[in-house]
């Protein structure tokens, strides 16, 4: 019953149904799903009446098909794009697997949250962005940083707490930042990054309208989970983004579980995409295990934001193959549910799609697998060989302007005290 990449032949309908067994249902825990009348049929008159229509994946794909002529270009991706997507997803998967290994070997500590299974969302969205576009993530941010372009070496070093890490070892697993690649974090508290992403989108609009920088059209993507969608910051930012038509896309990675709390047990109306139109923006639900579907919808949403038409809320149904973090025993989730989603592994699905449609052959994909293995090995070696931060680093980045430490009893600014640079000064 796996939902294979059936982009050409049968399109997965946007709204999942529970009374149509040939289509994958919206699975939650073992609890029964309440029936929501509105979702049992294709977009009906009542939806069309709303100001913002729900984008159906089927419509987008149909447009794609009618534009193209020959059979090969009926495909959603070219070979180069396919290889790029495959490589990115394999990088994410291998990297996270290596993280688990390194954690159990005592190379990294604390809370480490792995992204296995959700690669389609990260790759599907972030590979569409330019370097100047911004992303904001949560504590499950390694793969977002990697997809955006942060070198694997820097991410692994950061996880090892070495000074060559992207945040000099000061951030750690949950705080991946990169000024060069516009990764605005990495936040430990859920929902905390959403206002920050709204601010980045605000800057883009401000640059265009106040500073008159005509080509300022950077888009910001905010990634967060299903648990966050019950948090005040989520709603407040949906409001502000829609109000000011900010160039932002809100991406919900609905993996159905917030540690051990099933989304259905925590949410009065579990269909998160419906919350978009309540604030005046389109709300879309997509299959987050299918990178091509994610990419098609993401393209539309990012272009919409870039044109200045405002935000979009996209709910990606996805799943994490591992526990919430490496400390989570993951006992609550039904093994049948895990088995079901394992059959929908995004990497296997893309591989199958590309081979069936004769875009690539096995050897090319194996070559990529090998290349990624080497990249990840190299990242580990680099991180291992990198130095630990020295004591003088302790006080360096507390303030952008170190005068903020104040004036000491001797009349000098504390930051001029030689012990300050040694990291032993009393501040």
């Amino acid at each position: 019953m796996s939902s294979a990449f059936s982009a050409i032949n049968t399109i997965q309908p946007l709204h999942r149904t529970i009374d149509n067994p040939s289509v994958s249902p919206f699975l939650g825990s073992t609890h029964k799903l309440r029936s929501f009348p509105a979702c049992n049929r294709a977009p009906s008159a009542s939806w069309i009446r709303r100001r913002f229509s729900i984008v159906a994946v089927s419509d987008v794909v149909k447009q794609q098909k009618t534009k193209s002529g020959s059979s090969l270009s009926n495909l959603l991706i070219t070979k180069e794009e396919g290889l790029e997507l495959y490589e990115d997803m394999v990088l994410g998967r291998s990297f996270e697997d290596m993280c688990a290994q390194m954690y159990y070997r005592g190379k990294m500590f604390g809370f480490v949250h792995l992204y296995n299974g959700q690669e389609a969302v990260s790759t599907g969205f972030i590979k569409l962005l330019t370097k100047e576009d911004c992303i904001v993530s949560t504590y499950r941010d390694h793969v977002h940083a990697l997809s955006k372009g942060v070198p694997a070496r820097q991410v692994m070093s950061e996880l090892f707490g070495k000074t060559t890490g992207c945040c000099r070892g000061q951030g750690g697993s949950m705080h991946m930042f990169s000024e060069e690649y516009n990764v605005l974090g990495g936040f430990a508290f859920i929902g905390e990054g959403i206002p920050v992403s709204t601010g980045a989108a605000f800057t883009s609009k401000y640059r265009r309208e106040v500073l008159k920088e005509a080509n300022s059209d950077q888009v910001t993507l905010a990634f967060f989970g299903d648990g966050t969608c019950n948090n005040g910051q989520f709603f407040e930012c949906l409001n502000m983004a829609a109000l000011w038509k900010l160039p932002i896309v809100f991406v919900v990675e609905n993996n159905l579980w917030a540690i051990g709390m099933s989304h259905l047990r925590a949410t009065s109306d579990p269909e998160i995409w419906k919350k978009g139109p309540a604030f005046g923006m389109p709300g879309v639900h997509i299959d987050g295990m299918d990178v091509l579907k994610v990419r098609e919808v993401a393209k539309e949403a990012v272009e919409r934001a870039r044109r200045g038409e405002g935000p979009t809320l996209i709910e990606c149904e996805t799943y994490r193959f591992r526990g919430h973090s490496l400390a989570d025993p993951d006992e609550l989730r039904d093994p049948a549910e895990k088995a079901h989603y394992a059959t929908r592994d995004p990497i296997a699905a893309l591989k199958k799609y590309m081979i069936e449609n004769k875009l690539v052959n096995e050897a090319e994909l194996k070559a990529i697998d090998k290349k990624i293995d080497e990249v990840v090995e190299d990242a580990v070696e680099f991180a291992d060989a990198s130095p630990h931060p020295v004591r003088s680093q302790l006080l360096e980045n507390v303030f952008a302007d170190p005068k903020g430490f104040g004036i000491g009893p001797d009349g000098r600014y504390r930051c001029e005290d030689p012990k300050f640079t040694e990291g032993t000064a009393h501040v």
């Binding site: 911004c134 904001v136 890490g165 992207c166 945040c167 000099r168 070892g169 000061q170 951030g171 750690g172 705080h175 930042f177 000024e179 605005l184 974090g185 990495g186 936040f187 430990a188 508290f189 905390e192 959403i194 206002p195 920050v196 709204t198 601010g199 980045a200 989108a201 605000f202 800057t203 883009s204 609009k205 401000y206 640059r207 309208e209 106040v210 500073l211 005040g232 910051q233 407040e236 930012c237 409001n239 502000m240 109000l243 360096e396 980045n397 507390v398 303030f399 952008a400 302007d401 005068k403 903020g404 104040g406 004036i407 000491g408 009893p409 001797d410 009349g411 000098r412 600014y413 501040v427």
Partner: protein, 401 residues
């Protein structure tokens, strides 16, 4: 009026400059402090200059509104304005100077600000630069932080400082920490400002002193303004600073009138202000309590005491140099603050003084703070929660015997 750097003698070179580079000021101030130990110029809030070393029976401020300055011969006229106008002037000058400076807050735009600090700015700069936000403190504070990370310089106005309790998550986790957790990659040059403190029967929730809650957050600076002169100077300094700065204003001080210089000036965020030099006892204060202290000082002088009054201005970090020099001179310290007793600014200051200047103290540090009581509505009860001049006089008398 000669523009002076408060607490330090001005050099001739500085007066000719139109805009002050705070770094330049700092360098000259350090040199002067080491050379001249007891002579300094003081600009008091009535605008007059005094040389600090030999005056005893000073004419002190008798009420909260400063008296008009009489025209001294060697000074330029300056212009008179109220404290909220001084804040607005500082804000406007900075917005004019740098197009990335913007304001976000509730009712800052069309309404002009609840305390008129942003009046007419939206007409001048547009709705995006002076942004009326919905009532979502946590989110718009976070939004300002995201905007600051990506290149803007926002000023967040809390309609009342107490409302920023809702933004505590963003202020603590993001504002203070992001520069560090990103390894120095992102700066957060925001200014968070708003009126706090006990007003006239505003009730418990509108009368909060948040400086005690925010002071532990690493990575932020806190300053409190008390006169139109330092309000404008601190506002400008805060906007220009690359660090996140929280500027505490006070609801009851917005209508203070003073004559301030026409020339542009920027004050130093980390320095304290010498209000009245003296010999017997050091009184450390900030914000509104400065006026209660000055009122008490009038009584004290008539009784023969000579208090040295310092407005600490920088609540985090403390200017231990100015404070230390004073303690070394007088050997007695009284802290008068509006903050709560427990864990307030006074508590931290007491600890800092004891740690650094214990040898110079002839008596324990006494700290007069507000009672640990939710501010009552009734006028009489409210009066008893904050420190009154009579209590200050009693405390000084006890300390000096």
């Amino acid at each position: 009026m000669t523009v002076v750097f408060l607490g330090i003698g001005a050099t001739a070179a500085l007066t000719s400059a139109n805009s002050f580079d705070s770094k330049k000021l700092h360098i000259s101030s350090r040199r002067l402090v080491s050379e001249t130990k007891s002579t300094f110029f003081v600009v008091r809030s009535d605008g007059r200059l005094n040389s600090g070393s030999n005056r005893r029976a000073q004419i002190l401020i008798t009420n909260a509104v400063a008296t008009k300055a009489d025209s001294s011969p060697a000074t330029k006229p300056g212009h008179e304005l109220l404290l909220f106008e001084a804040l607005r002037e500082g804000l406007e000058e900075e917005m004019e100077r740098d197009a990335r400076v913007c304001v976000m807050g509730e009712d800052v735009g069309h309404y002009g600000g609840s305390y008129k600090v942003t009046k007419d700015l939206a007409n001048k700069y547009g709705d995006l630069r002076v942004l009326d936000t919905p009532i979502a403190e946590n989110s718009f504070t976070g939004m300002a932080i995201g905007a600051a990370m990506t290149g803007l310089r926002p000023i967040i106005e809390g309609m009342n400082m107490g409302f920023l309790l809702l933004a505590f998550n963003q202020i603590s986790n993001n504002c203070g920490m992001l520069h560090y957790t990103s390894g120095g990659q992102f700066t957060i040059p925001v200014v968070i400002r708003g009126p706090g403190g006990v007003g006239r029967q505003l009730g418990a929730e509108h009368s909060q002193r948040l400086e005690s809650y925010f002071q532990s957050i690493p990575g932020i600076q806190m300053v409190a303004c008390s006169t139109p002169y330092n309000a404008k100077g601190l506002m400008k300094a805060a906007i220009r600073s690359e660090n996140p700065v929280i500027l505490f204003e006070h609801v009851l001080l917005y209508n203070l009138k003073e004559r301030i210089p026409d020339e542009e000036y920027v004050l130093n965020l980390e320095e304290a202000e010498m209000v009245r030099p003296g010999e017997h006892i050091t009184i450390l204060t900030y914000s509104r309590m400065r006026y209660h202290v000055m009122q008490a000082a009038k009584t004290l002088v008539n009784k023969g005491y000579d208090p040295e009054v310092i407005d600490i201005r920088s609540l985090k970090p403390f200017d231990l140099h100015t404070i230390g020099n004073s303690v070394k001179k007088t050997h007695r310290v009284l802290i008068v603050e509006e903050c709560m007793r427990t864990g307030g600014i006074g508590a931290s200051l007491t600890a800092a003084i004891n740690e650094n200047f214990h040898d110079y103290l002839d008596a324990p540090v006494v700290c007069l703070s507000s009672q640990d009581v939710p501010t009552p509505y009734a006028g009489t009860l409210e009066e008893w929660t904050v420190v009154q001049p009579a209590q200050i006089v009693t405390a000084v008398e006890q300390l000096c015997h």
